[in-house]
Structures are given as C-alpha cells and as structure tokens.
C-alpha cells in the first residue's frame, strides 16, 4: 500500500517530464517568432574599443549586430547603415582603412524557423587613432558613438470577428466581436491594440479597425520612405524634408486579402504613440454578415538605435624635448624688446613703455640703486659703518626715491630709483 502511494506520487511528475521533453516548445515550426520588441541590436565586441588607450596608438572598432526581430533585412532594398561620431580633438579615423560600402549592413535575417535566433554579423568599422594629447592634459576621456539605421517592418496577423449586423439577429452567431490587445510582434514598433467596429455606409456596414501603435524599442523612429527609395532610406534622413517627418510610420492593412484604407496612412507618433483607422473600402462588404476573417497590419518605418562607449586616453610617457635650443627668455625683471635683447623693466618704463606697472616709474629712473642708496640711516650712521661696527641701529627705508615691492623692475639687490 505504501509502495502504491509512492508510485502515485511520482507518476504525475514522470509523465510531466516525458510530455514536456519532446513537446511542441522545441519545434521550430511551431515557435512564434513574432514576439519581442527588439529589432536590429548592436554591441561593442570585447575590447574594441578598449576602455583605455594610449595616445598616438591605433585601435580597432568592431560591433556585433544581431537581428532580434522577425523581419529580415534582405540586403537589396532592406539594408542598414552604420554611422559613427567622435570628438576629432581626441580621435581620428584612419581614412584608408574602410570604404563607405563597409558600413552597410547587407543581409541580416529576422527570426524564423530557418533562423530561430535571427541573423548575426560582425562589422569591423574603421580603425581609429588616439591623437597625441595636446597641451598639459593628463588623461582626458571621450565618447565613441555608433548608430545603426535600418528600414523595418512590423507585421501583425490575427483572426478577427466581423459582425456587420445592425439589428437583433435571432440566428446563432458564428463569433462575437472583440477588441484585441497585443504586447509585441517581434519588432520595436508594436501594434498595441485593434478595436473592431463598423462604419455605416447607407444600408451597408463597413468593417472598421482602430489600430493603436507604440514605439517600445530602445531607438528612434525616423521618416518612412517610398518603396523605390528603400535602398537609400538612411541616407535620405539627413534631408530636411525627411527630418521634418521623423517619428512617422506608414501603416497598411488587409482584411482577408482585401486592402483596407487607413486614415492616416502615415502615423505621426506623439509621445511614442499613435493610431489610425483602417476600413474596408472596396471588395465585398455588406450588412448582416458575421464571420471570422484574417486581419494583417503592416507598419513600415525606418528605425535607428545607438550605442556609445567612453574611452580614456592615457599619456604614453614623458615628452621629447630638444635640449639644444634655449628659450632665450629674459630674466623675470626684464622684457625682450626683440632679437633676444633683454632690457630691465625699470629702464623700459623710463623710456615710455606702457606696462601696467610703469605708472610709478618716471623718465629719469633706472636700476642703479643698491640697498645702500635706498637706505637712509637715522642717527647719522651710514650703512657701511653699521655693517662694519656691528652697532645696533634703527634703520628705515626711504620710499620716495626707490621702488620696493612685488613689481620686478630690476634684478634682486638692485632697485628702480632716480638715476644716481
């Protein structure tokens, strides 16, 4: 009995294990790839660029790009473009290292049963050079900014119930009309809800859908382009016509292969959200119809995501100097009047120079005074006597005919004074 109890305890778990181990979850044909809010994503590969780089050295720049959405960039019309920006004061591009074609993201499959993880690619961008650090800066840092622009499409396909009855029908209904809410469709731009309704057209009813969309991805929606211009969708974005239409999305919808008319057909997002109303304008529609139908909504747009990395530049070592050349600088109390000819500031002031400190120097002054000439001794003792006899005396400094203080007019020990 106890053994049977144990058996009954373990049996459901074993069954669960058997059922889940080979279940439909691993079947790529049954996997829903139209989920998630990512499109083309980027990340820097390993140490390229490095966190720290010595000045004057070259470093590689490579990014890993993956298509994590459900739409494929086929490489012909749909292709991405990489761009980069940097501060030219600290970094430069080795111009010969890459061509414009190398910056095109050609073929990158979206997630599907043939590419369950989506397409991936490694893109080696131009080699960069860390410039020599100019001036006295020790270790500046700078940003390297990479962005990828690509045309993309969000596709929503679902079954909706159409009911064009405008009166009470006693017959049993095939389906009940319900509004739909969605979280993602394997793309950064998401159809968040579809409200199913009817537009009255005389005695007939047109199926109508209020479609709400939102940018849930990490990037920016640019301006949509015509199909003929898809191959240059990213280059066109810098034109003012397109730039003024950034944050816009083209919307199209079909109901059972019948094209719907969408107003507007280009949704301008506000606060990352927007909506359009799509209705059946042609084909078969009428009254008192109740059926299931497939609704397909497509959003076409150009998207851009960016990444950046901060790089610290490090001085590579001690600078190199030419010892052979002397600066030829004058002494601090002198000024170079040309040709390495240094003249005492006091004399220059006396000659009429216009330095700020010259106000206190008169025209008949020079550096001819030493300490003796600038001192007057109280008690009729000359400084020589004082020095010689070691007599204790009081001294005071005459301010009238010598300039003391911080202004450097003459060499140490000499003072600017009336010519002696």
């Amino acid at each position: 009995m106890i053994k049977n109890k144990k058996y009954f305890f373990w049996m459901p778990w074993i069954l669960l294990l058997i059922l889940t181990s080979c279940g439909p979850g691993n079947n790529p044909y049954l996997e829903n790839y139209y989920t998630g809010i990512k499109g083309v994503e980027m990340e820097f590969i390993g140490n390229s660029p490095p966190d720290e780089i010595y000045e004057g050295t070259e470093f590689p720049l490579a990014v890993f790009i993956s298509n994590e959405g459900a739409f494929s960039l086929n490489g012909s019309l749909y292709k991405g473009t990489l761009s980069y920006s940097f501060d030219p004061y600290y970094l430069s591009v080795k111009s010969d290292s890459i061509s414009k074609a190398d910056l095109v993201v050609e073929e990158l499959f979206g997630k599907s049963y043939t590419h369950p993880k989506g397409g991936i690619g490694v893109y080696v961008l131009p080699s960069f050079m860390a410039e020599k650090i100019a001036g006295q800066r020790e270790s500046p840092d700078t940003d390297l900014f990479i962005s990828v622009c690509y045309p993309y499409r969000t596709t929503l396909a679902d079954e909706v119930c159409i009911d064009t009855s405008d009166f009470v029908d006693v017959r049993e209904k095939v389906c009940e009309v319900e509004n739909k809410v969605y979280t993602s469709q394997g793309a950064p731009l998401v159809v968040t809800s579809v409200d199913v309704g009817n537009r009255k057209d005389g005695s007939l009813m047109r199926p109508s859908f209020l479609i709400k969309i939102e940018n849930k991805g990490s990037g920016m929606v640019l301006a949509p382009v015509e199909e003929k211009d898809l191959s240059e969708a990213c280059e066109l974005q810098k034109e003012s016509y397109y730039k003024s239409r950034w944050n816009s999305v083209k919307i199209s919808a079909e109901l059972s292969s019948e094209k719907l008319t969408c107003i507007p057909d280009e949704i301008h997002l506000r606060d990352e959200r927007g909506f359009a109303t799509c209705f059946l304008d042609g084909g078969v529609y009428g009254g008192n119809l109740n059926y299931y139908s497939s609704l397909v909504v497509k959003l076409d747009y150009v998207y851009m995501t960016s990444i950046s990395k901060k790089i610290e530049l490090i001085r590579s070592g001690i600078p190199t100097y030419d010892y052979s050349t002397d600066s030829g600088n004058c002494q601090y109390w002198q000024t170079d009047v040309g040709g390495g000819n240094c003249i005492d500031n006091c004399a220059l002031c006396a000659q009429g120079a216009n330095f700020p400190f010259c106000d206190i120097v008169d025209s008949d002054w020079d550096c001819s005074c030493g300490a003796n000439e600038c001192l007057s001794v109280i008690g009729s003792k000359k400084i020589e006597e004082w020095l010689g006899k070691q007599t204790e005396v009081e001294i005071e400094f005459a301010n009238g005919n010598c300039i003391f203080g911080a202004v450097s007019l003459c060499q140490p020990g000499k003072f600017c004074c009336v010519k002696q």
Binding site: P88, Y89, A134, D143, Y321, Y323, L387
Partner: protein, 529 residues
C-alpha cells in the same frame, strides 16, 4: 532587628541585658565589614567632596591635554608602534597627574575615567586613520574626524563639575575652531573654480590645514585656499563675467613649479659668517621643459635689503624633476630676516570644454516623443570645463547640452576666464593666449579682439581641422585677479558640420602661456659673534 547569640535565655530572669557572645568567625566578618564600610565611606566622601569642589588646575590640565592632542594631530596621528608607545606613556603620565595632583581624586572611579579618556584620545583618531586605510573614508576626512573627536576636550567640557567660567569661555572658542576645521573641509565641496588635485595623507593633514588657514599665502597651489573660493564667489556675485572650471586631478605629482623645504643651515647665524639657506625646487610639465630663473634676497621689515648668491641661477626641469637650491649671503648684520627665494618661469595652463551639438529639428523630434535626448544619444546635461594644474586657472563658459544648431548657424556665445589661483606669486606677463576652435565654427566679435592665426603659424600641437584664435591685446598684461574674454560663435555651413550625424561632439581648447614669478621665504636670525 536584634541578634541573639546562642545560649541566650529568652524571657528568663537575671541580667536585664544579655551580652552577645562572639565566635572567632564573627570577629573576622565584622572586621571585613568594617573595613569595607570604611573604604566605601572614604570613596563616597572623596567623590562628594570632589563634586562639590571645582578643581583649580582643570584649565591647565585641559591646555596640556589639548597641546598633546594637537601635537598628535600635527604628526598625522602616527600609527607606528614606537609613536603609539611614546604617546601611551605621555597619556598615562597626564592621567596620573590629573588624578592625583590636579583633580585630587586619588584612586577613584573618576580617576579611572581619566585613564579611559586618555585611551580614547589615543585610539579614536587612529580608528579613523585605519578606516581610511581600509578605504572607508578618505585620508583627509580621517584627519578632520580625528581632530574633531578631541576626547579630552569633549569630556571636560561636557562635565558640569569641571565647568569653570574659563573652561566655558575657552570651550566655546575651541568649538568654533573645530567647526572651522570642519567648514574648511566642507569647503572642498563648494562649487568653486577649482578642486584640490591630490588626495591627502593624514600625515599631511596639518600641513594642508596650516596652508589654508594659518598661512594661505604660503600655499602654492597644491590645493586652493578658502580665500580663493570666496574670491571666486565674490566675483560671481558682483555679476562680473567669470567662467569657472574644474582642475584636472593629476595621478601623481601635480603640474606646476613648487618651492619647498626652505631650510637655514643653522638655527642661528652669526655676524660676518656666511648665511646659507637651502630649498628644493620641483616642477612637472607634460608639454615643455620648464626653465626657471632663480634669485634670492634677504628682507628686513618686509623690504628687500640684500641680494644673495643663489646656486644654481637657472634650472631646467624636465617632465617631473626636482633640484636643490642654495642661497648664500657673505654676511648679514645682526637681526631677524626673511630669506626669500624668487623663481621666474614660463608655464602653460590649458583649458578644455567639450560641447555636443544637435540640430534644432532633431531636438524637436526628441522632445516631441518625450524621449530623453541625453539618455538616447549619450549627451551630458552640462558642458564641464577642465583646466590643468598650475598657477593659473582657465574657466570656460558652460552651456546646457546639447547646444542647438539653428539653420542659420547661430550658436550661443563662447567665453573664457583666465585667472590667477596661486597665492604666493604673480602672473607677470601673458605670453600667449590662444583658443583652438574646430574649423567649422567661427569666433566673431570677440572682446578683446581676436586674430585668426595662419595655418603656418598654428604650431604643431594643434589638431588637424582646428583653427587658432590669438588674443594679442592681452599679451604682455599682468594678471591681477582675472581677465575674461567673450566671443560670438557661428557655424558657417550647418549641413556639412552636422553631416548625417545626430550629434556632433567638439572640444574647444585654450592655451595660456605666461611668466610667473613665485617666491617663498624662511625666517632666519643673525646674532653677535
């Protein structure tokens, strides 16, 4: 309650008073009890007497204790076993003196507290020093906390029984002093024009303190005094154009030239004997050799009276070097003098600011979506000017980022302030003042006037595609406090400037080369032979 000895006859006749009969054990117990009571009574009396009496020597005791603590702080709360051993002996000595001579508590609970406070005075500041060595707090904060702890002061000041009017008055002054120390430290976090470039060892705490408070004029730029910060704040409050920046923190030695360790070779000199003073000159520059002219002279009553013979007279400091200097006077008359070393050198300070530009239409598109352009395009909120260490500071006009690029190419103005920051010298002459600007951007209507340098005159250290604007009118000027320059900025060709980029990042650089004269002095005394 009465105690009856064994053998008492309860309710019996005979003697009215029964004498208790004591056993030998009881006698010993009683003696112990008596001794215990006596000692407790003594202690109680002693304590009561002590509490009623305010000890007269408490002020002297506090001075001695604080002097010891100040000396400990001066030496950076040295944690070496030998230093701690010496301090332990001194603290034990003052505790004993305090307990027996000044406080006259003798062996009491209070005297034990005195020993406890001594132990705290020894250990608390060292706990902060250890905390800094573990990275819990910065070394300079460890020093400040150590000073603020001052256990002897707080213990005596907080005890009512020790409070005399003198203690009360001096205590308030000491509290003001401690608050000043704290404010000084907090001032490092003021949004002033500069920040201290190097982290401090607790051992240099006193030196920094002395530099900043006691003798800010002697402080030569390894940090910036409170006075500088107040000066900056004052200028800004006067609405004078004053742009600020942040000094780049050098990893090792700060950039600049430093005169240190001025040392007379004798404690006292004698007349007719040579007077010799030594000094150390050190300098660091990433850019060029620093050529320093050196002089020395003696000052009496703040006036120079005699030039000394300095050796060497000229020094070339390469990258990061130091050298010894010697100043000799054949003889000096009796008296007190200051021997002043004067150095003169050309030095360069660089200022940098990085602006991020975004087209007006791009900015609108981001605002429209309420997407943070700063987060999405990795743009900082404000441009931060950085300048290199040295006698001068270069502040640059900061703007909220990104800077909007209008279709007509107009931009907000550009401005810089060149200011003197070191206190013990003067910028005697500006040799050059240049601004390096990306060639797509033009500086216009500069005040004072700017001249665009020809490509051939730019120099080798200017990056490619950069223009150099020179401000010739300021060349030769002496900088007393600061000089400010402002210009209009404009982009000549917006499409080619922005290209297809969402944002454009450009750094502007300023180079100022100037002649700086710095002096530092030491006092000497000359006596009769």
């Amino acid at each position: 309650m009465k105690a009856y000895a064994a053998g008492d006859k309860l309710g019996g006749k005979g003697s009215a008073k029964a004498k208790p009969v004591k056993s030998p054990g009881d006698k010993i117990d009683n003696k112990v009890q008596k001794t215990k009571n006596y000692l407790l009574d003594k202690l109680r009396k002693g304590r009561n007497a002590y509490h009623k009496h305010k000890p007269s020597g408490i002020g002297i005791f506090l001075i001695v204790a604080l002097a010891l603590y100040a000396w400990d702080a001066y030496s950076g709360f040295n944690t070496s076993p030998s230093a701690m051993g010496v301090l332990m002996i001194i603290y034990a000595a003052i505790s004993i003196i305090g307990a027996f001579l000044l406080f006259q508590t003798g062996p009491s609970l209070d005297s034990m507290k005195l020993f406890g406070v001594s132990i705290m005075a020894l250990l608390i500041p060292r706990a902060f020093v250890y905390a800094s060595s573990w990275g819990a707090i910065s070394p300079d904060w460890a020093w400040v906390f150590g000073v603020l702890a001052a256990p002897w002061f707080w213990y005596i000041y907080s005890k009512e029984e020790y409070k005399t009017p003198a203690i009360e008055g001096w205590g308030k002054l000491i509290i003001v002093f401690l608050l000043l120390v704290l404010l000084l430290k907090l001032s490092d976090y003021l949004p002033a024009s500069n920040q201290i470039g190097d982290t401090l060892d607790p051992k240099s705490g006193w030196q920094t303190f002395k530099d900043k408070i006691i003798n800010p004029a002697e402080h030569i730029g390894k940090g910036v005094s409170l006075i500088d910060k107040l000066k900056t704040t004052l200028n800004q409050s006067l609405n004078m154009e004053y742009f600020t920046g942040q000094v780049e923190q050098n990893k090792d030695e700060p950039l600049g030239v430093y005169l240190e360790d001025l040392t007379p070779t004798e404690p006292i000199f004698y007349e007719k004997w040579p007077v010799v003073v030594w000094a150390t000159l050190s300098g660091k520059s990433f850019e060029d050799i620093i050529r320093v002219d050196i002089g020395c002279h003696a000052k009496k009553d703040d006036l120079p009276i005699m030039a000394g013979e300095v050796n060497p007279k000229k020094v070339e400091l390469f990258f990061n070097e130091e050298t010894g200097l010697q100043c000799t006077f054949d003889s000096l008359p009796k008296g007190n003098y200051k021997v002043v070393f004067t150095t003169s050198f050309d030095f360069s300070t660089h200022g940098y600011i990085t602006y991020t530009f975004v087209e007006l239409e791009t900015k609108r598109r981001y605002y429209e979506q309420r997407i943070s352009i700063h987060d999405d395009l990795s743009i900082p909120r404000n441009a931060q000017a950085i300048y290199t260490n040295g006698p001068a500071a270069i502040g640059l006009m900061s703007h909220a980022l990104p800077i909007t690029v209008n279709p007509d190419g107009s931009l907000p103005p550009f401005g810089l302030t060149f200011a003197e920051v070191w206190q013990n010298g003067d910028i005697k002459r500006i040799n050059t003042l240049e601004v390096q600007v990306p060639e797509e951007i033009q500086l216009e209507n500069c005040v004072p006037e700017a001249t665009l340098k020809a490509d051939s005159d730019k120099g080798t250290d200017v990056p490619k595609n950069y223009d150099v604007y020179e401000f010739k009118t300021v060349i030769g000027n002496e900088v007393k406090m600061f000089t400010t320059i402002t210009c209009d900025m404009k982009i000549s060709d917006v499409p080619s400037f922005m290209n297809s980029n969402l944002k454009v990042v450009k750094t502007f650089a300023v180079k100022a080369n100037y002649k700086y004269i710095m002096d530092k002095s030491v006092s000497i005394r000359v006596e009769d032979v």
